[in-house]
Symmetry: C2
Subunit: 334 residues, 2 copies
């Protein structure tokens, strides 16, 4: 197995990404042959050498990067050699089995969608993030790939999320719920009402709507959201956690430390920036999107996460489940 | 000044509402003549008597209530004597200057909108909640009155929110921002793009988009949101705070206490249930919506909040500001 790493994307690239890569190699968790680094060759060689890496991974040279503030489609058009484009190309050409990227999320989604295409039957990709609640981990998707989805996209997110939760979180019968502003059936926008009706017929255990205040209390293993709401929720939680940790630390060091421990459980790390990342589901390849603020400590978790997605056969199972649902039901015809 | 109190709405009605009313009277903060209680007369008389209230407030008898799970419009149709309807009627007939209600939020919004009408020039009501961030209090609106707004509604929320923040939070030049999933102009749905353009021309200090992760860091005094996103954000914050407090308390009593103090600052109370409530802006009357989970301790803060809205002339200033904006600009013609 080989994983492509976008060395140029992200607020702390390339230094922190390379530090993280060095850690992955020096701990022996990943062999040099298992990584393909995409970025400026001289910098990669020099920095990895300085970090004590003797056997270099595969290197693919580029100096172009789509910055965080650039518009994805314009960036892709003007920078054909952008690091994310070459990473996606490596997966498409089977030089890598998956990729991790910490840069412009929109550009990663667009590059992967255009460069890899969709899995058979899937209409739109969705970003799946893992959060931790009272009963353990759960998946929220879509966290922002598709901010204006159609009902059928949400239906497919339910199926994709269920596959993901089974494979990656080890939940045999994931309970799927729809993020909404009311608990009862018939609540919310026309989009959510239609998605509710489709999910009721879906070959998953659909538990109906879930409201934001119930999110962390273990009532669902898969929370289906439109990309606007999902992104909003994720960012609010992130910012609120950061705010509370800061305030609690001001109040007392113990309180701050206690809260940081809680958040470590929540995000699987002491800081949001240390989380491995989010899986881009639905594209015909394995793509892990890390947070732009990621530092070195996020790289190894991201590599582990993408390896797990590949080893567990997430994409194969999604494809099977979608095919089954299309065999069983007319609900995907929309 | 007299305030109507819906004694029957809410999860802990009527007992906790009456306990809170007794507190307001016994502390001398409100005189008997300043309150009009709407609910079952025998229960109100008996319980207030048992709580030591000698001089009873005005009482308006009813036994009908729209329960939390009822559909607002159906509830209003089938229960013409519902407590919320009589509260609104008292304000319309000038028997009260404002009201507080802890019951079905949708029913309160609908009853107030139909029973009081809108302030001149206002298209839709919005729920304004006050949250506390790093730089102090800020207002989020709409928190759920209008889940599918038009751009002009968001424009008006910007103006209403600025008036509210000036009057109630004492902020002279409130900085208004639009809740979105991207920071730059041109981000988000067509709704948000159009609202952005209108707010740029509005007679307020408009600072552009704000993302959820920046919400608590003091960058805006008024955060304009569509009711779906605003409600989602509020509920996620509420649930996340509850979850974190629980987890932190498990980790250590000190950590839990520290966090509870932080949240006390955030919501202006130790618990969300103790917050006074949210102001329903835009209707032709002063309406405070309390949380359905409110206990006795939420009643006095709610009474104080509605009194402040009235004394500060929030509705008069909103009307003036809207009139000015209509004189100045064609942007409200939509």
């Amino acid at each position: 197995m080989r994983i492509a790493v976008d060395v140029l994307g992200g607020d702390h690239a390339p230094d922190e990404i390379l530090k993280g890569v060095a850690e992955a190699l020096l701990t022996g968790e990943f062999a040099a042959d298992e990584l393909l680094l995409v970025g400026p060759r001289p910098i990669m060689e020099q920095q990895l050498g300085e970090l004590g890496v003797e056997s270099l991974p595969h290197l693919l040279h580029t100096e172009q990067v789509i910055e965080g503030h650039e518009k994805p489609v314009e960036g892709l058009r003007s920078k054909p050699e952008a690091s994310i484009v070459l990473c996606v190309g490596a997966v498409r050409e089977k030089k890598a089995d998956g990729l991790i990227a910490f840069g412009n999320t929109g550009a990663t989604v667009a590059a992967a969608t255009m460069g890899l295409g969709m899995l058979p039957g899937i209409r739109r990709p969705g970003i799946a993030v893992v959060l931790h609640g009272r009963q353990g981990p759960f998946t929220l998707l879509d966290a922002g790939a598709n901010p204006a989805p159609k009902p059928n996209h949400l239906f497919q997110y339910g199926l994709m999320g269920a596959s993901f939760a089974s494979d990656v979180l080890g939940i045999e019968q994931p309970r799927v719920a729809l993020l909404n502003i009311g608990g009862e059936a018939g609540k919310g926008s026309p989009l959510l009402k239609e998605a509710y009706a489709l999910l009721q017929e879906a070959p998953v255990q659909f538990n109906g709507n879930i409201e934001g205040n119930h999110l962390f209390f273990g009532e669902a293993d898969v929370v289906v959201a439109d990309g606007f709401a999902g992104n909003m929720v994720l960012k609010v939680v992130e910012g609120f956690a950061e705010y509370l940790t800061g305030r609690a630390t001001e109040a007392s060091r113990d309180a701050g430390e206690g809260l940081r421990n809680t958040i470590r459980q929540l995000f699987g790390a002491a800081d949001y920036a240390e989380v491995g990342g989010a899986s881009l589901l639905g594209v015909n390849g394995t793509v892990l999107i890390g947070h732009g603020r990621s530092k070195a400590s996020a790289v190894l978790p991201a590599l582990r996460a993408v390896r797990k997605d590949i080893e567990k056969g997430v994409n194969r199972h999604i494809t099977e489940r979608i095919a089954e649902s299309q065999g069983n039901s007319a609900s995907t015809s929309a």
